[in-house]
């Protein structure tokens, strides 16, 4: 190959994908549709806030995490009375204190054991005396509630007190039966959120492709850069958009919940811990979106009109809903064949693994799953791009008229292409 030919080579796949992704990302970010995309998921929050629903919900969440009082009888009464006084001052940030045990003078109480075997909404225990209170809870709750307990205890020991007693703290690991229930809730919530986000984004990438076909610019792209790069560029542009969206939604949600006094420590700690859970959630979101996005892009390539796109994407959507239900079922069958099947099947794997991150401490299954899903993403994108390349670059009305079955199209995609002799 001579010098001019080497210099004339087309862009590498990743650089070409970057060119496409940069264009798509900028175009979507600056479009009016993006504003609606951002606002869409926030509408229910705003409506609830306007209706006072958020406040009620926050109140409910805050009160659902109770602080039990285990003291001598008169101290319990004093603490409960002080709580009412303090609540008038600090509002919903004060956790709900409930009577747990009225102890006999000198009676010991093992708060840590009681808490670890707790049921219901008990999240912390304050024991000792109002003059020397002891708070037993998880580390996060200790940090949040230590001051409040001191405030209540001060009021209980001496109304109008100017000095607060020192609160002794004891940390517990919440790993009892109630923790498992909480983890299951986290798993199911994570799956649902993942599903909604992926479906939203995959639909958007499909709309983007349809627009591209409508603009008839696709042939210019195909002539200049690898079709795989067009696919990757579009997929990753939408992934970038989703990161912006999630950042906005996450920040808004975090601000709303924080303002309402709700903390992650109110919820069961996921098996891998919250930071790792968020990291894995992001990774599985990326994989799940890329897998479904690749399918939707391939579907988009088969269609010649928007109506055809809608018709063809319907089965893909319904199938994905079934996959989601399957993955949801896997949460209830931990360690069973349903869960393993859900983890192995590419489209349900991200959902199943998010649930596993919530319920199980082990990290190595996630490495395996991410590697497997990454491989599947490569295959899906390659197949989708192949299908697209074969389908869209036909000339004349014959291509539009031909009505081949999806199976035949897929078969043709994987059939050996004739190659000019070297």
């Amino acid at each position: 190959m001579n010098h001019s030919v080497r210099n004339g080579g087309r862009l590498s796949m990743w650089r070409a994908a970057y060119v496409i992704a940069r264009r798509d990302f900028t175009a979507i970010l600056l479009s009016r549709a993006f504003i609606f995309f951002l606002l869409g998921p926030l509408f229910p929050v705003f409506v609830m806030a306007l209706a006072g629903g958020v406040g009620a919900q926050v109140q409910s969440e805050a009160t659902s995490a109770d602080v039990g009082i285990a003291m001598e009888s008169r101290d319990v009464d004093a603490m409960l009375a002080a709580q009412d006084e303090v609540r008038d001052l600090v509002g919903p940030a004060l956790p709900n204190m409930v009577e747990l045990e009225r102890l006999a003078p000198g009676e010991d109480f093992d708060a840590a054991t009681y808490l670890e075997n707790r049921e219901g909404s008990l999240a912390a225990i304050v024991s000792g005396t109002p003059e020397a209170p002891k708070l037993t809870a998880t580390a996060g709750r200790l940090t949040r509630w230590e001051g409040m307990v001191a405030l209540v205890a001060a009021h209980a020991s001496q109304p109008g007190a100017q000095t607060y007693p020192a609160v002794t703290t004891a940390t517990v690991e919440t790993s009892g039966a109630s923790e498992n229930t909480g983890r299951l809730r986290t798993a199911q919530g994570g799956q649902l959120l993942l599903f909604l986000l992926i479906m939203l984004l995959a639909s958007m990438v499909l709309s983007n492709l349809v627009e591209e076909k409508g603009n008839k610019i696709i042939e210019i792209l195909a002539a200049a850069i690898p079709m795989d790069a067009v696919f990757l560029g579009k997929l990753f542009a939408m992934l970038g958009i989703s990161v912006v969206g999630i950042a906005v939604w996450g920040t808004t949600g975090f601000a709303v919940l924080t303002a309402g006094g709700v903390s992650l420590s109110d919820y069961a700690n996921p098996g891998v811990g919250w930071p790792m859970f968020f990291a894995l959630f992001a990774a599985y979101f990326g994989m799940g979106y890329l897998l479904l996005g690749a399918i939707f892009l391939a579907v988009g390539s088969l269609a010649t009109t928007v109506r055809e796109v809608q018709t063809l994407s319907m089965p893909a959507t319904m199938f994905q809903i079934l996959v989601f239900f399957f993955a949801s079922l896997a949460v209830t069958d931990q360690g069973g064949w349903i869960e393993y099947t859900a983890m192995a099947f590419p489209l349900s794997s991200p959902f199943a693994m998010v649930a596993r991150a919530a319920t199980d401490e082990a990290l190595w299954p996630h490495l395996v799953a991410l590697a497997w899903q990454g491989l599947c993403v490569a295959v899906f994108v390659k197949a989708g791009a192949s299908l697209f390349r074969k389908r869209v670059m036909k000339s004349g009305p014959r291509a539009a008229r031909s009505s081949r079955s999806l199976g035949k199209l897929v078969k043709d995609t994987f059939r050996n292409r004739s190659t000019p002799p070297a």
Binding site: S4, R10, A27, I220, A223, M393, S395, P420, P421
Partner: protein, 326 residues
């Protein structure tokens, strides 16, 4: 195909002067033969026309030459590369179906098209502004594509095709949708490209453009190339036409006229006899035809195209009727 490859290796010297050479390109869609053994050789720096009726296989042939689709059989070499994608940065391509992002500004669209061919985005955008100024569209640089007229948008796309200064430019039906003035401008632009040494290949079903611009053409009909060569040779394939006007309508001189003679108004039209004009002239004079005017008109490319494409179509029809390959 080894034999074909060997032939190409033997003709390396010739190949060096060819921007494009393709032999035996075949493409089927859903079992339907769209292109059936196309041979094309485009000299470097030439303006080359691919002529053919609608649906003849022009676009599919161009797409194979550009590497947008792969041929089912055959051989192609573009700017010295067997895989056209290996020289993608040296190629500019304007497809038949024009496409731009409606929300993009005009100069951004040009820059984007340059970026697809490896030009840095900022350089492409700057060049886009300069090109638009040079082509009288300076006022529209910052306008979105959706705000431009169809002709202006087409010009923007054309400039986007050229922004990276390609060595080979491929236009698919570039004149469709343009008014006469813009067609003239485009013809000028194509000549300008060729003057700078750029190879230009374009497809059209409007013969006049090819006749004015091209030295060499290929005629595609029914997926085949019944003719590839110079415009002059194509015209020479059709006998010159004689147009005769006489004072008398009848007389023994009429027996000197060829059997294919057609009478249109006061004129007789017939192909120039193989024996030349002199014996005929002598017979007309001796027969007292009373010649008022006699002219010999060389066949135009349009006539040649109709004859060549028509023959090919007729062969196809016969082959179809007999169930044999044409």
């Amino acid at each position: 195909m080894d034999m074909a490859t060997g032939e190409f290796q033997a003709s390396t010297e010739n190949s060096r002067n060819l921007a494009i050479e393709a032999h035996g390109l075949v493409k089927r869609f859903d079992g339907t033969l769209a292109v059936d053994g196309v041979d094309i050789a485009v000299p470097a720096g030439a303006i080359y026309g691919i002529l053919g009726p609608n649906g003849a296989g022009k676009t599919t042939s161009l797409r194979m030459l550009l590497g947008i689709i792969d041929p089912d059989a055959g051989y192609r070499r573009v700017l010295g590369a067997e895989n056209p994608q290996d020289v993608a940065r040296l190629i500019g391509y304007l497809p038949e179906e024009r496409g731009l992002y409606p929300a993009m500004k005009a100069y951004e669209a040009i820059g984007f098209m340059g970026a697809l061919r490896g030009l840095p985005l900022d350089v492409g955008r700057e060049r886009g502004k300069e090109l638009m100024e040079a082509h009288g569209l300076g006022h529209a640089v910052d306008k979105q594509i959706r705000q431009l007229s169809k002709g202006m948008a087409q010009t923007v796309q054309l400039l986007g095709t050229l922004v990276h200064e390609p060595k080979l430019v491929v236009f698919d039906e570039p004149f469709s949708g343009l008014d006469a003035i813009n067609q003239g401008k485009l013809e000028g632009l194509i000549r300008g490209l060729a003057d700078k040494g750029t190879t230009v290949i374009f497809s059209t079903h409007v013969i006049a453009h090819a006749e004015r611009l091209c030295e060499n053409i290929a005629i595609i009909a029914g997926g085949k190339v019944p003719y590839a060569g110079s415009v002059e040779e194509a015209r020479d394939r059709i006998p010159a036409q004689v147009r005769l006007e006489t004072r008398k309508r009848e007389g023994r001189w009429r027996t000197a006229l060829p059997a294919e003679t057609r009478q249109v108004g006061d004129f007789f039209h017939f192909p120039l006899p193989e024996s030349g004009i002199e014996p005929l002239l002598k017979a007309l004079i001796e027969g007292e035809a009373g010649i008022l005017s006699l002219s010999i008109e060389r066949a135009g490319l349009h006539d040649a195209f109709v004859a060549i494409a028509g023959e090919a179509a007729a062969r196809d029809m016969v082959a179809d009727a007999e169930g044999k390959p044409a």
